[in-house]
């Protein structure tokens, strides 16, 4: 069941508060909810929380025969499960427009931006490649699930390590983690997705990382995916209020700063986790 749209007092209050640059959770307009990353016992298992929005990402790898048209490339598939567990507005078997947007955007940010070097996933040309399967479970939706899912996905890929393989002639030997240290995936870059919400009143400034109420009352969302090296991967804006070029550039500049912050946060968290793990692996 789709929940009814927010009531008139909620709408009016949110707009008056935003006009004074006040947000309901006490953030400033261009402030991200601090992402909380927690890692599971397995490599490649990450839970990402942005406020009350929570997504679990999990990566696993298996060996498959590559398709004949791409014999040198590994395969990555993304399974995003947006179940009614996240919010009562999602239904099983009948994806809403919003769900499709999230799924396609995840595909663009995590797969088509070439974050993972697919050729490094090749073991034996035409015979054996790694098939990476990234599963995203949305546990709770309190707004901006897309950014949370993208962050969870990219951190899971960075956290994951595949078992070492040895190729002698046509013989492939897989070394378990107890024998040889697993190898991290070779990543070209780390894209981050940042979503901005715009409001009907032109004087209200756009807000970063909208909450559920803000997202529902917004007059348009714009998602920007980019990495800390200022390389823009995806810009998505589906309808909504018209924006001038200056405005878009301003938003991209804000996104660059935030992407750098996120990059640092992810790196420190991954290092912390790896430092705690090294002991048990060797």
């Amino acid at each position: 069941m789709r929940p009814p749209s927010p009531s008139i007092p909620e709408k009016e209050f949110l707009f008056t508060a935003l006009k004074q640059s006040l947000r309901l959770d006490g953030r400033s307009p261009l402030e991200l909810r601090p992402p909380v990353l927690s890692f599971g016992p397995e490599l490649g298992w990450v839970e990402c929380a942005l406020g009350k929005t929570r997504v679990i990402a999990h990566v696993d790898a298996k060996m498959v025969k590559p398709p004949p048209e791409r014999p040198f490339e590994g395969i990555i598939t993304i399974h995003s499960e947006i179940s009614p567990m996240a919010s009562s507005e999602y239904e099983i078997g009948r994806p809403s427009e919003e769900e499709i947007t999230i799924t396609r955007m995840l595909d663009k940010v995590l797969k088509r931006s070439d974050a993972v070097d697919k050729e490094s996933l090749c073991i034996l040309a035409g015979q054996r490649v790694w098939h990476l399967r990234l599963t995203l479970h949305c546990l709770a939706d309190a707004g901006n699930m897309l950014d949370c899912a993208c962050l969870a996905g990219i951190v899971a890929l960075k956290h994951f390590r595949r078992p070492d393989v040895e190729v002698i002639g046509d013989e492939v030997t897989v070394h378990p983690a107890s024998e040889r240290a697993p190898i991290p995936l070779s990543m070209h870059h780390t894209p981050f997705c940042l979503t901005f919400a715009f409001f009907p009143d032109p004087e209200t400034s756009p807000v970063l990382d909208p909450s559920q109420l803000e997202q529902r009352l917004s007059a348009g969302l714009m998602s920007v995916a980019l990495n800390a090296q200022r390389e823009l991967c995806v810009v998505q804006k589906l309808g909504g209020v018209p924006l001038s070029t200056d405005e878009v550039l301003r938003i991209v500049n804000v996104a660059v700063i935030k992407a750098k912050e996120l990059d640092q946060l992810v790196d420190t968290r991954l290092k912390e986790d790896w430092a705690g793990r090294n002991v048990e692996l060797i």
Partner: protein, 236 residues
């Protein structure tokens, strides 16, 4: 005093004038067929078992997010549709409730309130049956006076867990007196997990909303000292 019960468990509730609250059911048609035995009471949901001082009223208390309507409870709803003589109202339950156009103070056939879609109303559940859609009323059926019910203008709607809004209704709970001592505010608490608040300033309303969220057992469960510090950081 507080024992945990699970659905299906027998509850030792006995009184001449026994009143059962939410979560308890008197099981009828006992297999023994012995008329002299006292009616057996079973719990229908998990939670802590409570009873009044003279053991005549019993109920099960638990924390959930989905509201199940029960008669005589005050709720806050959003008008989602006009239906003939009345309105359909979303109160957060499985089905929308119906609110008759004549169930307002001073409403007559000629003079009915004209509420827009999206208006918030504070109402009482007048009928809650598991097989029918719940019915609301915005007045006291005996006196036909509003008694504080009706549409809520302005302000903001805070959503919280069901345990939190029951706590807010408790006059001994610290939060609302604490906030009220600092600035004037107006609150309507619905037991369906919605609290309508208003104050003079936008900052104050945001402050109330954030305090309720912080004190909510679902999202932190801050105590009185914590709220004092929190209000200081908000500058209220």
């Amino acid at each position: 005093m507080s024992t945990v019960v699970l659905p299906g468990q027998h509850v030792p509730a006995q009184h001449v004038n026994l009143k059962l609250g939410p979560g308890l059911l008197q099981s009828t048609g006992s297999s023994s067929g012995d008329a002299s035995t006292a009616p057996s009471i079973i719990a229908t949901r998990a939670g802590t078992l409570n009873h009044s001082a003279n053991r005549s009223k019993w109920w099960v208390e638990n924390n959930s997010r989905r509201y199940v309507p029960a008669a005589q409870e005050s709720v806050i709803g959003v008008i989602i549709q006009k239906a003939g003589e009345g309105f359909r109202v979303d109160i957060g339950s499985a089905q929308p409730a119906s609110l008759d156009g004549l169930a307002f103070e001073g409403a007559t056939k000629r003079n009915k309130p004209n509420l827009k879609i999206g208006t918030l109303v504070y109402a009482r559940v007048s009928l809650a049956h598991k097989d029918m859609e719940p019915e609301l009323e915005c007045f006291d059926a005996q006196t036909r006076k509003a008694e504080g019910f009706g549409d809520l203008k302005g302000g903001f709607l805070v959503r919280c867990s069901l345990a939190m809004c029951r706590q807010l209704l408790d006059s001994k709970h610290f939060l609302l007196p604490l906030l009220g001592a600092r600035f004037p505010l107006e609150v309507a608490v619905g037991v369906n997990g919605r609290v309508w608040v208003t104050a003079k300033d936008v900052r104050e309303i945001i402050g109330i909303a954030r305090c309720i969220e912080a004190v909510d057992p679902d999202g932190g469960g801050m105590d009185e000292a914590g709220v004092m510090d929190f209000l200081r950081t908000l500058g209220l």
